[in-house]
């Protein structure tokens, strides 16, 4: 019965090597940060490989990875844990953050700016050299083992100024800037992940580069690597490439009919 409530840490262990091609020296920096017990902040546009990087890092460090997708209803108890009633008895259930601290795992808060600022302050004592997590309700202060690591991510692109990251939060982290991979690398990624040949991968990447040119002309962001892979997968399942691009890339980028038409024109020119 108890396991219904309590997540098991083993479920978060990554056993197979995730496919990840380093863009620059981010792996070394992150390993060095881990060695020095420093938390990391990943920033970059959507779909450029931040989450995949965390998976890769967790696999490389052989630590379980607990991911929390932040949203504005996320409360402190959602992170730390709460008492639940079971047969007139109160049972404490660890939240994901506590779970990670207890087991020296990696805790990754995805899109941290989406959470309310009063929620995210709980990571402050964890983020600096104290490395502590006070659990008020248990009257317990957990000190993180050396193997624990905190990672957060956010997308500094077209953000609302109201939702920026607080300086007191931001300045606790080693920051790794991510961008779309360089062309050759991105081709390799699309080829591998999307299971398509190198020629098609190159064309998809070319399309992505073209859409990224439109960033100042009405698109909030250009096509991400994730979208390319998505289109490649659709194509591999038998969807004609133009339809795959339309459903997998173009319509996911914008609702503006003129831009949709223009990107469709580009797709038609390429394929």
């Amino acid at each position: 019965m108890e396991k219904l409530y309590q997540q098991r840490i083993e479920e978060h262990r990554i056993t197979e090597e995730p496919f990840y091609l380093p863009q620059a020296n981010e792996v070394e920096v992150a390993l060095a940060a881990y060695g020095n017990q420093l938390p990391i902040l990943l920033k970059g546009p959507t779909g450029c490989g931040k989450t995949r990087f965390m998976q890769y890092l967790a696999w490389k460090l052989e630590r379980p990875l607990i991911t929390v997708s932040c949203h504005d209803d996320l409360s402190t108890s959602d992170l730390i844990g709460r008492y639940l009633v079971k047969k007139n008895e109160a049972v404490w259930v660890d939240g994901p953050l506590t779970l990670a601290v207890r087991h020296g795992a990696i805790c990754y808060l995805d899109e941290i700016v989406e959470a309310r600022k009063d929620t995210t302050v709980v990571i402050h004592p964890l983020g600096d050299d104290r490395r502590q997590l006070p659990i008020e309700k248990l009257g317990e202060i957990l000190t993180a083992p050396p193997t624990f690591m905190l990672g957060v991510s956010y997308n500094p692109g077209y953000q609302s100024v109201v939702k920026d990251l607080k300086a007191s939060t931001r300045q606790r982290f080693v920051s790794l800037a991510f961008d779309y991979p360089q062309t050759a690398l991105e081709e390799q990624i699309v080829q591998k992940e999307g299971g398509v040949d190198s020629e098609l991968a190159a064309k998809l990447v070319k399309l992505a580069l073209m859409t990224r040119e439109l960033k100042d002309s009405g698109l909030a962001e250009g096509a991400s690597t994730r979208l390319l892979i998505q289109a490649a997968l659709l194509h591999r399942s038998g969807i004609a490439i133009e339809n795959a691009c339309r459903a997998g890339i173009i319509e996911s980028l914008t609702d503006d009919p003129q831009l949709i038409a223009a990107i469709k024109d580009m797709t038609e020119a390429l394929f």
Binding site: S75, Y83, A90, V162, T267, E268, A269
Partner: protein, 746 residues
């Protein structure tokens, strides 16, 4: 309708203006003769044309009567759009000329079904061109198809094929071809004679000013051959890059080729055959060899081909490549090339000069000319490895003086890349000139005679950042606040009418922001029980902890705590279309923000020289949005120069007394900061950048909206990534401005 009814209807349409009756009597009397439906159709044009020009309105009505029989109301709208286009590009004369010889075909329903109009497809095709070329290209209407490498000129309409999609596809092919010419360097440096760089830059060749085709006896033939060879090279390239496009357009090309008139004479037949293979991206006719693969090989290929044609019998007549596409416009391309080369040179020399002045440590080094020449001899820019933009090797370009290397900043490396692109290599003379600048050859402007502003109590004084000394010039600028005098005009009602559809949508969006409601959990009181909180509390209770009392969900309305100041560039460069659009955009924005109730103020700025910066108050922060404010909005007009630092610092001062949580400074400008004195280029950019950094330091979020023809590299440096948006098409500004505000504060 009878004359009097027509007259009343007309007056209603042009209200609040009161044109003299006798000026319009003749036209309105003519309208009386039309059928009632035609009368209405024609008079409906008045509100669209009247605000643009009253004389034009007169002519439109006059000509409209003449065409009345041919038009349906849809045709009329199309006809009017074209008239207005001609008016806006070529003035009244052009519009009248168009109306006189209006091609009935161009507005007929038949054309609408099968033809494609450039104006209708402009946003789509512009985005397409940008994606294909990778840089900002303008598309403009012209009689012929060509490009000067910054603008692609295309015909107003395309009706070559029987289906509007095919006509649109043909537009796309034409754009892609022109983009190909630009990116393959057809209209770039290989167009010119290559000569040895006399300053001895490793024996590099550089283009001199003469186009290499000038040596041929028959220049027209040489030009045709050049274009033919380049066309072949480009289509081969496009076939590789955009196979989908070529596959789709090949039937169109084949169709066009089939309908070409038969040619006489062996020369013409040969040329025609080669044209066919060039257009279809096939290997040329036997005996000519292949189309060259690179621009370097082109002159050789042209020479071979020219000899071949010369040896062939028959007369030669100039080639028409495609409908609307004759020969390249080399003159304009050359002009653009030279302007660009001169501009990059100037920017490179100033930037490097400034860098060098910054590097010099001992004062002895800065003055004597002898020292300079010595330094020039020992200085060189070392360019190793790749100059590719994406290259990760940042140490590949260094400036080496006396064997000491200095890392070049990104701006200079970008400039070097641009120069190499245009000239092949960086001429030594550029570097020497930069040394000249750093040696004090440039007027620093410190001792300039200032005129204008009297220093009095009303002036605020601000420091200015001098990046060369990495310090502030104390109290360097004086800024005076002025009230903008409102004007009475029909600008406000007209604009509100013009954008009424859009405004409705914007207002609705903003209203949503105002009434943004959300459920707040864990409240002491509220509309419903928060089950999560209750369970938590029960759990706590069981565990012997004091249970929380915050067990309710409450529907709360978020209080927005936002203050925004808008700083509007009123320099004379905003004259014309840009100015009007800025005004319209601000008006829409005011209407929109009023829906949300945020605090906002609008200020214009301009001025001349450091002692006379001016801030014009258009709407004070606490001022109500009333007719006074509207009349001041209408009065926004171009003044003098753009010294951005002082007004930004002035706005920072304003913000100091405001304690809202989010403080936004939105700057609307049409380009670079620049003043009459030495407030230019890097100095101006660095000062503005510093002022923006000061703003951030005070907890203010600066955001800039730049209206310009092309995005410049300096924007990101100036405003910081993600802190600006760039609006290439000024007509989009009203929509973009409100959108930016909404996104920033949502």
């Amino acid at each position: 309708m009878h004359y009097h009814e027509i007259k009343d209807y007309f007056s209603e349409q042009v209200f609040p203006a009161h044109p003299n009756e006798w000026e319009y009597e003749d036209v309105l009397r003519n309208i009386e003769k039309l059928e009632e439906a035609q009368q209405f159709t024609l008079l409906q044009a008045v509100p669209a044309v009247w605000p643009v020009s009253q004389s034009l309105c007169h002519s439109v009505l006059e000509e409209g009567v003449r065409h009345a029989g041919d038009f349906t109301s849809q045709d009329l709208a199309e006809w009017l759009r074209q008239v207005l286009f001609h008016y806006e590009t070529g003035g009244l004369v052009s519009a009248r000329a168009f109306m006189e010889q209006a091609d009935p075909n161009s507005v007929s329903a038949e054309f609408k079904e099968t033809g494609a109009m450039l104006a209708d497809q402009l946003p789509r095709l512009t985005a397409f061109a940008k994606g294909i070329s990778g840089f900002e290209l303008r598309l403009q209407q012209a009689e012929q198809i060509y490009t000067d490498t910054e603008t692609i000129y295309l015909p107003e309409k395309m009706a070559l094929f029987s289906d509007s999609n095919l006509n649109l596809l043909f537009y796309k092919l034409l754009i892609t071809l022109q983009c190909g010419f630009i990116s393959l360097g057809t209209l770039g440096r290989y167009l010119f004679y290559q000569q040895q760089d006399h300053s001895g830059n490793n024996g590099q060749q550089q283009p001199d000013g003469r186009i290499f085709l000038e040596t041929y006896a028959d220049q027209r033939l040489a030009l045709d051959i050049y274009q033919l060879v380049e066309l072949g090279r480009t289509t081969m390239f496009l076939k590789q890059q955009y196979p989908g496009l070529l596959r789709r357009t090949t039937p169109l090309i084949a169709e066009l080729l089939r309908t070409r008139p038969e040619k006489n004479g062996e020369k013409n037949i040969l040329l025609e055959r080669c044209l066919a293979s060039a257009l279809l991206a096939q290997a040329p006719a036997p005996g000519i060899g292949l189309f060259p693969a690179t621009a370097e090989e082109t002159p050789g290929a042209v020479a071979t081909f020219y000899r071949l044609i010369e040896q062939t019998d028959g007369d030669y007549e100039p080639l028409c490549f495609l409908p609307f596409m004759d020969a390249f416009n080399l003159g304009e391309a050359k002009q653009v090339f030279e302007n660009r080369v001169a501009d990059t040179r100037k920017r490179f020399e100033t930037s490097l000069g400034d860098l060098l002045s910054g590097c010099k440590t001992s004062p002895d080094e800065t003055s004597a000319a002898a020292d300079n020449s010595e330094s020039v001899d020992s200085a060189r820019i070392q360019l190793n490895g790749s100059t590719d933009k994406n290259s990760s090797d940042e140490h590949s370009q260094q400036l080496v003086i006396d064997n000491t290397s200095i890392q070049l900043p990104d701006t200079i490396r970008d400039l070097i890349r641009a120069i190499q692109n245009d000239l092949g290599s960086l001429p030594r003379s550029y570097v020497s000139a930069a040394f000249g600048i750093s040696g004090g050859g440039r007027n620093s402007g410190e001792g300039e005679q200032e005129s204008g502003c009297l220093i009095d109590d009303q002036c605020a004084h601000y420091d200015e950042w001098d990046y060369r000394r990495q310090g502030y010039r104390k109290d360097w600028c004086s800024l005076r606040e002025r009230k903008l005098l409102g004007v009475q005009s029909d600008f406000v009602p007209l604009t509100l009418k013009k954008y009424r559809g859009q405004l409705k949508k914007i207002k609705r969006q903003f209203e949503l922001m105002h009434t943004q409601e959300r459920f707040a959990r864990r409240r002491r009181s509220g509309d419903d029980i928060d089950l999560d909180a209750l369970i938590d509390s029960l759990g706590d209770q069981c565990a012997g902890l004091p249970p929380s009392e915050n067990l309710f969900i409450q529907l709360i309305r978020d209080q927005r705590s936002i203050t925004t100041l808008f700083l509007v560039d009123m320099s004379n460069s905003t004259e014309g279309w840009i100015g009007t659009s800025i005004k319209e955009a601000l008006l829409l924005l005011c209407e929109a923000i009023e829906m949300v109730g945020d605090d906002y103020g609008i200020y214009g700025f301009s001025g001349m020289r450091r002692m006379r910066s001016e801030i014009y108050s258009i709407k004070e922060l606490k001022e109500r949005y009333d007719d006074q404010v509207k009349s001041r909005l209408a009065a926004i007009g171009p003044k003098e120069y753009t010294r951005m630092g002082p007004p930004i610092r002035h706005m920072i001062n304003y913000f100091r007394n405001i304690d809202t949580r989010t403080r936004l400074l939105i700057i609307l400008s049409d380009g670079k900061p620049e003043d009459y004195d030495d407030y230019k280029h890097e100095y101006a950019i660095e000062d503005t950048r510093k002022a923006l950094a000061e703003a951030r330091g005070e907890g203010i979020q600066p955001y800039c909206i730049t209206i310009d023809k092309e995005a410049h590299d300096y924007l990101e440096h100036l405003f910081g990534r993600g802190n600006y948006t760039f609006v290439p098409n000024v007509e989009l500004l009203p929509a973009r401005l409100t959108e930016v505000y909404r996104l920033l504060t949502r």
